[in-house]
């Protein structure tokens, strides 16, 4: 039995479901294949992001942040609480509810946009056909004019620490602990490692983060990264840089109660024992069983599906987007790529602006950035002005008792065009987003300076940082006097 569609999308994660819904909106007959099943063996949509990534991690981050606030910050406000406790299973249950609500939401959106969904693993069998194999082994063939591969990515495993999803876990397992581990090891001080480490550190775990690289958050502006390192250390995260994990040993008998990690750092060989170990060293594109090599879809040297600026593969009818292709492995990048492919199929000239992909680390304070940082501009020989505004000078932040961090805006020295925005602080992602919009319109720092911002808001810090880059911020001293 062969069903025919205009478009078949493999994967219903952010890239996949955006592509599928947009295709449906544009009038294409669309199918979306999803192999993910939840604990109850039901097919759920939304991919990594909804099920074991963005959403669940943010749910736990918010719960654990409220816990910390109640435990440490309420006192300052004059709020008296007696012992604050965390019911981990309840926290996990709430997270599951949020995920459930959103995955059924996506299911609803897909059907609302007339997208046929298929449960099973999709495999591209020819430039016009996709085979769907369901968990029972039954295969169905779909014919497609266009195929969009959005198969996503999976956590990278490293040989010294094989995942058992019990004591040694990846990000998925880290979202399912039923109690706060006393000693938590995290391999990888990247976004995921810091976020998950934060969750459990806040709830009482003794957290050690082992990072193989010498530098902390190398992609982040140096000033912001330094401030982040200081703040996280103050929060109790012990971040060890230049620590390369060489092996691990489980112990504690059948219950596998702990793991001892061997690593080398500048002082030599070290050992550390943890009750739980999270491996968060990165993710790799998932192309297993996606197509036969004879099909001719090219992969790049890192295993991503090779695509051009519009996500077209080497085969005319096949596109790929999201984590399975090059570029930052971010849900929003995948989403916009999915939209771009759908719109291009309809003849519209959509193009993702890869220059302005924003990034966020959802710790608290939040870290967010877009565009170029100072180091990149120095390396490129571009003259720039910088404006930094600390939240310590923000009325709103002080009123909220949440004033760590700063907003940094970098603008071209000659034309004043905003080249980058880097923030660590409360609502960093939402504040930075305003600058992303401005940068899409080639705005100058002066444009932000001439725009009225509500008072008192956190957003004002963006306004003041822009003024600072021009040498005339009001709420902080200006070092260099500039007209």
């Amino acid at each position: 039995m062969t069903k025919e569609y205009d478009v078949v999308v493999i994967g219903s994660g952010p890239a996949g479901y955006h592509a599928a819904i947009r295709c449906g909106q544009l009038g294409f007959s669309t199918a979306c294949i999803e192999k993910w099943q939840n604990k109850d063996k039901k097919t759920v949509f939304g991919g990594t992001c909804l099920n074991v990534g963005c959403i669940p991690s943010k749910a736990l981050l918010d719960t654990s942040h409220k816990f910390i606030e109640a435990q440490h910050d309420f006192e300052t406000h004059g709020i008296k609480v007696s012992a604050v406790n965390i019911d981990v299973p309840a926290m996990i249950e709430r997270k599951d509810q949020v995920v459930k609500q959103l995955t059924s939401g996506v299911a609803g959106l897909l059907s609302g946009n007339k997208v046929d969904t298929y449960s099973g693993t999709g495999k591209v069998t020819s430039p016009e056909t996709v085979a769907v194999s369901d968990p029972e082994g039954e295969t169905l063939e779909l014919r497609a004019k266009h195929i969009i591969i959005a198969a996503g990515s999976v956590p990278i495993e490293i040989p010294p620490t094989p995942i058992d999803q019990n004591t040694i876990v990846d990000s998925t397992g880290a979202l399912e602990f039923q109690e706060v581990p006393k000693r938590l090891g995290v391999i990888g001080a990247g976004v995921i490692g810091l976020e998950l480490g934060s969750v459990w550190a806040r709830l009482g775990a003794d957290v050690v983060v082992l990072e193989a690289m010498e530098g902390f958050l190398p992609a982040v502006d140096r000033q912001i990264a330094k401030e982040a390192a200081k703040i996280f250390t103050k929060q109790g995260l012990q971040i060890k840089l230049g620590a390369r994990v060489t092996g691990s040993k489980l112990s504690g008998g059948k219950a596998k109660k702990s793991v001892t990690v061997e690593y080398t750092d500048s002082d030599g060989e070290q050992k550390a024992t943890f009750d739980k170990l999270i491996v968060a060293v990165g993710r790799k594109p998932y192309t297993e069983g996606l197509f036969d090599s004879s099909l001719g879809i090219e992969l790049d040297e890192r295993g991503f599906i090779k695509v051009d600026e519009q996500c077209a593969t080497s085969i005319p009818s096949i596109y790929a987007c999201g984590d399975v292709v090059r570029g930052p492995m971010l849900a929003h990048k995948g989403m916009e790529e999915g939209i771009m492919v759908a719109e291009r199929l309809a003849g519209k000239k959509a193009q993702v602006n890869y220059e302005l992909v924003p990034s966020v680390i959802y710790t608290h304070p939040e870290i967010a950035w877009v565009g170029k940082n100072e180091e990149e501009l120095k390396a490129a020989g571009i003259d720039y002005n910088v404006g930094v505004f600390p939240f310590a000078a923000s009325g709103r932040a002080l009123a909220a008792n949440d004033s760590e961090g700063m907003v940094k805006i970098i603008a071209d020295a000659a034309t004043d065009r905003i080249l980058g925005c880097h923030i660590i602080g409360p609502s960093a992602a939402d504040l930075m987003q305003q600058v992303v919009i401005a940068m899409e319109f080639s705005a100058s720092a002066e444009d932000l300076g001439l725009t009225m911002f509500s008072h008192p808001t956190l957003s004002e810090a963006v306004h003041e940082a822009a003024l600072a880059s021009l040498g005339h911020a009001i709420h902080i001293g200006n070092r260099r006097r500039r007209a």
């Binding site: 003849g347 034309t415 065009r417 319109f441 080639s442 001439l450």
Partner: protein, 405 residues
């Protein structure tokens, strides 16, 4: 489907135009009614917009090139990507060349705050700056680049603005060499033509403005109330007096066309109005049909339009007689230059109190010198003098205007 974008049909008195600034590049996607290019003529700047959604396929005439009416200036690929193509029709809007230093409200909307500020601070013309922002918006960066291009010593031909050269002479004194803008060059040419091809001379007289001033003082408020807030100025009196005089001396209301003299059976009075970019002369059509209020209102409109740079070509062509008022700038006496093909022009001047002899007594009266420059090939000395005396008489006794005597 590829079509040609043609230059618009230029008005009769405008022989050709120059491509000023292209706002879109070859290969750029444009939407219907997007501004493609500015064409500069002697009088106005004409905007050419995209006839449909599509792509600018080829530019046939680049910035600085001369074009004639309906000449092809570009090739245009019509059609959105859905394959729908409409029937192309080049649309043309005429915009006065007298652009102002501050961007108009509609132009401001597309400028970022910093760009707008910089443009105002440097008295730039918005239409001379090409926008590289989203949808062709002008960003601060564009203005900054425009300014640095203007001040650099190497002339840039694609900006549309005049190339300037600053040099230091051998004695160490600074010279700045700026090529004439097209408008100024054309004005220079016409002035030269007027003085070289006409036998131009000027006759003078003076008029006691007290009677008119008395009327204004007495009826000012009532006039404003009755006529929608239009104020009673001096110009309307002068225009009406001129019309009356022109009826009596048709030669003054005539034009020379080749070897013919054309006597016009109507009076189209050109009123010189100053705008931030210079003098413009919009024309009161069939002024005889206008009362004082109508004339004042129309002049007020012209003033506003000139200030906003929105005078149309049709509003500035033609005219059988011109009135110029140097008095607003303080001129006591002057010799206005003819506005070809007209044969006469009336110059008004400053009203200055002077002691005058009236019936053997000295009285201080508000006096204005009048000047009439005329083409002696067409108009006799006697006619010119009597024409001017008529105007004087009509103004000194406005009742004559009603009685037509």
């Amino acid at each position: 489907m590829t079509t040609e974008i043609k230059a618009p049909q230029l008005p009769e008195s405008v022989p050709d135009g120059t491509i000023a600034t292209w706002y879109k590049n070859v290969g750029e996607k444009v939407a219907r009614d997007d501004l493609l290019v500015d064409i500069e003529t002697d009088k106005v700047v004409i905007e050419v917009v995209a006839p449909d959604d599509g792509v600018l396929a080829e530019i046939l005439k680049v910035s600085g090139e001369t074009i004639t009416s309906n000449e092809a200036i570009a090739k245009f690929e019509v059609g959105t990507e859905e394959g729908v193509s409409g029937s192309p029709s080049a649309q043309v809007k005429a915009v006065s060349n007298e652009t102002v230093s501050a961007p108009t409200a509609s132009e401001s909307a597309a400028l970022s705050p910093a760009a707008r500020k910089l443009i105002e601070e440097n008295s730039l013309a918005v239409n001379e700056i090409s926008g590289t922002g989203k949808d062709g918006r002008i960003t601060k960066e564009d203005v900054v680049n425009h300014l640095s291009a203007q001040s650099s010593t190497t002339p840039k031909s694609n900006e549309g603005g005049p190339a300037q050269e600053v040099s230091i002479s051998s004695e160490g004194r600074i010279e700045e060499r700026v090529p004439m803008s097209r408008l100024r060059a054309k004005v220079a040419e016409r002035l030269l033509t007027a003085t070289q091809t006409t036998a131009m001379l000027t006759t003078f007289n003076e008029v006691n403005m007290q009677p008119v001033m008395d009327i204004r003082a007495k009826y000012k408020e009532e006039f404003e109330k009755a006529h929608d807030g239009v104020r009673l100025g001096f110009m309307s009196f002068f225009v009406r007096a001129s019309i009356e005089a022109l009826k009596r001396f048709p030669a003054v209301n005539a034009s020379i066309d080749g070897n013919d003299i054309v006597y016009h059976g109507y009076q189209d009075i050109g009123v010189a109005v100053s705008s931030p970019r210079g003098l413009v002369v919009p024309v009161l059509r069939n002024a005889d049909n206008m009362g004082l209020a109508g004339i004042e209102k129309e002049i007020r409109n012209f003033g506003e339009k000139a200030r906003d740079g929105k005078l149309a070509i049709e509003e500035m062509t033609g005219g059988t007689f011109t009135i110029s008022n140097g008095g607003v700038f303080g001129s006591l006496l002057s010799t206005p230059i003819l506005n070809p093909p007209q044969t006469a022009i009336l110059g008004m001047h400053k009203i200055q109190e002077r002691p005058m002899a009236v019936s053997g007594e000295v009285k201080v009266l508000p006096m204005m010198y009048l000047a009439l420059s005329y083409d002696h090939r067409m108009i006799d000395g006697k006619e010119a003098v009597q024409f001017l005396v008529t105007i004087k008489d009509l103004l000194e006794d406005p009742t004559r205007l009603i009685l037509e005597i």
